[in-house]
Symmetry: C2
Subunit: 427 residues, 2 copies
């Protein structure tokens, strides 16, 4: 029976720091949802000695080792051989895998090379997981106890080997590996995690407001993380039924929203600021347009991230130069001269000009100094003005973002969307 898992990602590019290990992150999330505790995630180079050491360490910490990568046809692909050696099993050639590979090459008008046949080698006693999206099959090697293998120096855990390309890995995990794991998971403790997204309040403040809710119930844990899109509350609950875990989470979420304030909670799990704003606009049959200087199109891009955005966005403008601000939006030359392009007065005229031009229900305007250059002591890089105009009302915000160009623009666009979200929802 399986209670704990360890994940091994093989790939020299990961330990060279060239790419973050997203396969392991995805698998860790899925294994946690199955109620397994993940004891370790290990990345190692395509090197037999390192992989062997990693396998032995992983096997010592967990009853299931999940390994990705290293199943391809090249000399770098050592995982099959190292597994056979560490787990003391022989490799056999799987004829069905060879047939599937041949078909895969034939469908592309190619001939299979002999080197690909190596990919059809799997450990004796393993369940072969055929690869419908690529060439290398994966495999699940049950624990020696389940296989009736002699008790020897081999690790006592089960081993799941998946290919490295993310699309092949996730498909094989979901379609082939999941049922095998579910049948072997001990007990009935399920973990569920819900991520509650906030925007606009600092982490320390939210921590003080919310932390004490979580000191009472050992079934529920809270992690607070400051991310670039805002502060996230991660609530994890463990229970014997998923419904019970979900009920625990719902109770915590209600307490979090009450304490942090509904105005700053902008979504949960896959809901983003973008999708929350889209949902509100569609539900209220409202339209919006944007006039952007420093964000350069990012507000419009984020407004159209969500399918169906043509219902509420008809047109939008990037007005980078002063000349464009005057000609397209009707900002007065005197305003630009007296107060500058980055000013409360200019952003107000931009939003009001856009409201008239576009005929939308809401007009967003953003002007600022994205950085790193262009700042002055009076108007430093990061200084940004945002406006939201609707018939009869114009709100203006000043923000001083402390980040780099990319972050300043992202936070400016999020702030613009948040103004719209709060205004529509009355928050």
């Amino acid at each position: 029976m399986i209670e704990t898992a360890a994940i091994i990602s093989t790939g020299t590019e990961i330990v060279q720091g060239l790419y973050a290990d997203t396969n392991a992150c995805h698998l860790a999330g899925r294994l946690n949802e199955l109620g397994l505790r993940v004891a370790a995630i290990i990345a190692c180079p395509d090197d037999p000695a390192e992989l062997e050491a990693a396998l032995r360490h992983a096997a010592s910490r967990a009853s299931l080792v999940v390994m990705t990568g290293g199943l391809g046809p090249t000399e770098d692909d050592i995982n099959r051989d190292v597994c056979a050696s560490v787990f003391r099993v022989e490799l056999r050639r799987d004829e069905r895998a060879v047939e599937l590979m041949r078909g895969h090459f034939r469908a592309r008008g190619l001939t299979m090379r002999p080197s690909n046949e190596r990919q059809a080698l799997v450990p004796r006693g393993a369940i072969v997981l055929q690869n419908m999206r690529g060439t290398a099959p994966g495999f699940f090697l049950p624990s020696p106890a389940e296989r009736g293998a002699p008790e020897d120096a081999a690790p006592q855990c089960a081993l799941l080997a998946l290919p490295g390309p993310p699309a092949e890995m996730t498909a094989m995990f979901e379609e082939s590996a999941l049922p095998l794991l579910r049948a072997r998971i001990k007990g009935r403790v399920f973990a569920r995690t819900r991520t509650i997204h906030t925007f606009g309040r600092p982490e320390s403040e939210l921590n003080d407001l919310v932390r004490e809710i979580f000191t009472h119930d050992p079934r529920v844990t809270l992690t607070i993380l400051a991310k670039s899109h805002g502060v996230d509350f991660l609530v994890t609950a463990r229970a014997e039924e998923t419904a019970a875990a979900d009920a625990l989470i719902a109770r915590c979420e209600a307490m979090i929203v009450e304490r942090a304030g509904s105005g700053c909670v902008c979504g949960a799990d896959s809901e983003t600021m973008q999708s929350a704003v889209a949902r509100l606009l569609i539900a209220h049959r409202l339209t919006v347009s944007a006039a952007e200087s420093c964000t350069g199109g990012l507000v419009a891009k984020m407004l159209t991230d969500t399918p169906g955005s043509s219902a509420y966005l008809k047109e939008s403008y990037v007005v980078y130069s002063n000349e464009a601000k005057m000609r397209i939006l009707g900002v007065k030359a005197a305003t630009l001269e007296s107060f500058g392009a980055v000013s409360e007065q200019t952003v107000r005229e931009m939003a009001q000009g856009l409201l008239a031009l576009s005929g939308a229900d809401y007009a967003i305007a953003v002007t600022g100094i994205a950085g790193p250059d262009g700042g002055t002591p009076q108007k430093p890089a990061g200084l940004t003005y945002l406006a939201l105009a609707s018939p009869g009302r114009t709100q203006v915000l000043e923000r001083r973002f402390p980040g780099d160009r990319e972050l300043n623009r992202f936070h400016a666009a999020l702030t613009a969307l948040d103004m719209l979200r709060k205004t529509i929802s009355g928050g």
Copy 2:
């Protein structure tokens, strides 16, 4: 002397799969640049038994263990105590760290809580790395041999402990840890990696063109990776001087560019498609504007990703509705009726209308079906038309992107930028 490194990231949120481990990725890159081989990257939960096992495994694989996280003031922050136990050293209170923490709180108008004083505990014999951006100091514990510690069951490696927040971690690594590591790195073999970015050719094709270059010289290795922005060649060279490694890389890069074709190579290392296009526009004193339907502002956003973009982008338009395409750009109603909004004819009129409207040297237009909805058998989701107009010339491309909404939009914007890049550079 230090030759190999292992990295440990502590944080339950990582093994829960909630966030990818970006600290380890950053550190692995920096350690490789120092010429160290990274043998393993391990993520473990905030759990003493798992951290101890991870430390012992890491110490068995490397002469330097770098650990991030777990130095905060809460009960989750176990790294100090576990290190002391595994490395058989006592903890002492560092008065300078206490003073710095007090100052940190005072500057923010806060009083330091007693729980923060725990953060000033460091192993005896360790060099304290003060934290100028947060509260927790880090430390470097030299190997027992260097410290003159008795030979016992403690690991024989050196240990570097850094705080978890990325800004604190990177600053402490660069400012305090790097000189300590450099003084202890054995030999003079430096590794350098250069990443060459391509766009527009499939991975398998590039692999066949380039792979054989790399079979001759063992000092140089090649990794080919398909990323969302295109296919990257990662060339790593090892030599006794960084200049020699750089020369090896330069020779390989020239061969890659020759074989893959200069048209598809769009940059190296931190140069992106965006910065390459910005560089060309500025160098040739050209201006550009965009009229975007499906990309919804992303082309303009990417054109303004680079500082100084106001030199070449004055204005840009998101024309999502047919009405906006007609009113703003002058697309003919008959064209939209006969051929539809997603057609070669419409994108051509969009680009030509924009060229006249904006007065820019180049006008980009994009129209397509971003998906997931809105497709038909004749015009499936992903179908996109792109145009680049300049006085007297309009190029049009048709693309069928196979991804999700986000990827289709990203690839459409990259393709638009690539048209501009190739046209200006004559590629």
